[in-house]
Amino acid sequence: MHSLIQLSIVVLLLPLLSFVILIFFNRRLPRRGDFVGVGILGTAFAISAYIFWTVIVQTYDPAFRVAWNFTWIDLGNVPGVGPLQIKMGVVIDNLTAIMLAMVNLISLLVHLYSTGYMAGDKNYGRYFAYLGIFTFSMLGIVLSDNLFSIYIFWELVGLSSYLLIGFFFEKDSAANAQKKAFLANRVGDIGMWLGILILYSQFHTFGFSEIYANLAAGKFTLSNAWLTASGILLFMGCVGKSAQFPLHIWLPDAMEGPTPVSALIHAATMVAAGVYFVARIFVLLTPDALHVIAFVGAFTAFMAATIAITQNDIKRVLAYSTVSQLGYMVLGLGVGAYSAALFHLVTHAFFKACLFLGSGAIIHAMHHEQDMRWMGGLRKHMPWTFATFTLATLALAGLPLTSGFMSKDAILAGALGFATVEGGGIYYLIPVLGFFSAMLTAFYMGRQIWLVFFGESRTHLKPADDHHADHHAHDSHAAHGDEHHEEHGVHEVSWNMRAPLVILATLSVFFVYSPDPLDGAKGWFMHMIQTPATVVGSASLEKPAALATAQQPLLAEAAVVGAGHAEKDVPESAAAEKGEEKGGHTFADPRQAEIAHATHGAHYTAIYISSIMVVLGISMALIVFVFKIIDPDKTAEAIRPLYLFSLNKWYWDEIYDATFIRGSVILSKVLSWFDTNIVDGLVNGVAVTVRKFAFANAGFDKYVVDGMVNFTAFSVNTTGAVLRKLQTGKVQTYVVMLIIAVFGYFVYYVTKLVY
């Protein structure tokens, strides 16, 4: 076993250890054991930093990969398949190393920060335990070498988020939010699970490398529609976790969790998992699947940005900005800008964590006031927070010299390149939405900065009733429960909350990633994380399905043999490949190669457009909020339908509520009714019939008339009229019955014999 593997397993298990210790013993430990959590995470970070150092800095090899696995379940000699084992394992490559370091760092910072933020909560110890399992789950996703274990940790992330979002479970809103998050994620998960099933059903393995090898070898025997479907379905997992449309609804509600948790969820762990996962499966995505992904990402980016403009809750703005940024990443993956998307994932993780922690500091300082309308002027009271928050905001908006600029620009360049290669038309919608969202991002972040930090304090403007309600509705834990805040006391937070802000802000600056502030591609990140070659060649995919199936092995072989063949078959792509050569590697797949080439070409165009957009956005924010040339309220009035549309988040919650949720509840009631009344009723009906029949028979002796009617072939009325006079329980009627039985049958027999 490679020493890095051993270390990575240690890293994986350390947070779990923290969870186990804290969940069982937190009440017996001093300070509820927060030092255990912080200490363990510190250790984990140290180890992962070492891994990072070894892999990224020392080895510096784009193709670095070590893997290890063990047999988890041995299915024996399965009929029709042969010996079959389900393996679990760990893989470390550059992406893993980076993600490990990032996750552990942010987690550590959140732990540290929480020691300040959560101090005094009655479930303080449990909180750290939850953080531990959250980190563990996320690390599991990062380290997994197969779909099955990814799915396991995927769900565990869901659980952890459930626990953390609902940490203040006494609040109904929190309880609702945690449920919503879990269920929305589950919907995504079933898609992902089906995707996994499609792949497993073909290859009888969950391992990435085996699946890709099999795919490349053309062993996928179903039609290509299935392959596309599997890609889209797997992407559904990402839609859930990374809060893409249409499952984005859970994320803003998840703000009910403690703010540091928001940082952890929305920056480093959960939402990143989705993007990370798509990156892992990137190579098996067919062009069709990629198109879907790209459109979903672009739409999400745009939609969330429009919503973020009108939100008043400081965390909600950030939440929607997260959704929007995740949209970018997904868009990036969809257009094939693999490394750019991951780059954005990492940069976003840092600056968004910074933003969330910063907002947490603000909320903390404001005594759990989250509404931006009642903030203002915090610049003076909280200089550290202000500085770091602003820096992170700039990065988010994508101003040059920040990390965000580089990564976002790379994605947009990819989108442009993609649109050109795909032949324009509707595909240009993707970069257009991307650029437009960039402008909106700059605008709403400008608005936020202004509302929070500049101007005068507007705390006193808050309506009293609202205030009271809010007080209970937000982060009010027991320790703060009775502490009504007065017109004072807004001051900078303590060091343990400040330090993480500073660290994260630092990591939002360009030089961490690339020497050239304008081109992330020149940095180590883009070098280490390179777009992998697809294993589902587009050439074969364009063939009619029937033909494709027949020729699959041949074509796949051709794809494997590589560039040489491709060059012969598709001459025009040769140039593209050459263009990409300086990127260090080539693509066998012509489409991929073309996109890479076009992306490269679009780099500067993207920079120009996006810079313009960002400037536009910021200036609009300035115009509206600083110079007050346009009154936001009046504008809102003027475009009220649009304003409400945005404020109410495009009414997705209402739509889902009216359709899926209410539909399910109604259906469940209907089915339950059906169950008790119809299904059970049928059975009881049979019983009743039997009893009725029994009654008829019991009355048989009683009302012999009727009974005779059943037993004889005589006319109902005449015999009935005669024999009705006979009464119950009489021996004579018995005798009559006897005689009728004997002679009746005889008459029947004679009749039959005669005719």
Partner: protein, 105 residues
């Protein structure tokens, strides 16, 4: 003509059938327990006539023996029947079988 002048098997059988019919009629329609029992006697005697007739026309002694035994048993049965009817009369103050119906359904 022979049918009318010579008494053959059919005559016996016809009489027996009539007796059976009367017996059944009595058993089905009469209310008095005694009369019902008389109906039963008619049925038994119908059988007896059959036995004797068959015995005569088919040969063999079995029919005769049978008839003898039936007569004896009819007597025994009558004895028991009357005892029971008397007992019923003591308890119910009636021998009308249509009134004796405390157990039903």
């Amino acid at each position: 003509m022979e049918q009318l002048t010579t008494i053959g098997l059919n005559h016996y059988l016809t009489v027996s059938a009539f007796l059976l019919g009367f017996g059944l009629f009595a058993v089905m329609t009469r209310k008095n327990a005694i009369v019902i029992l008389m109906g039963v006697e008619l049925i038994l005697n119908a059988a007896n006539i059959n036995f004797l007739a068959f015995s005569k026309f088919n040969g063999g002694m079995q029919g005769v023996m049978f008839a003898l035994f039936v007569i004896v048993l009819a007597a025994a049965e009558a004895a028991i029947a009357l005892a029971i009817v008397i007992n019923v009369f003591k308890t119910f103050k009636t021998v009308d079988v249509s009134n004796i119906d405390s157990m039903k359904e």
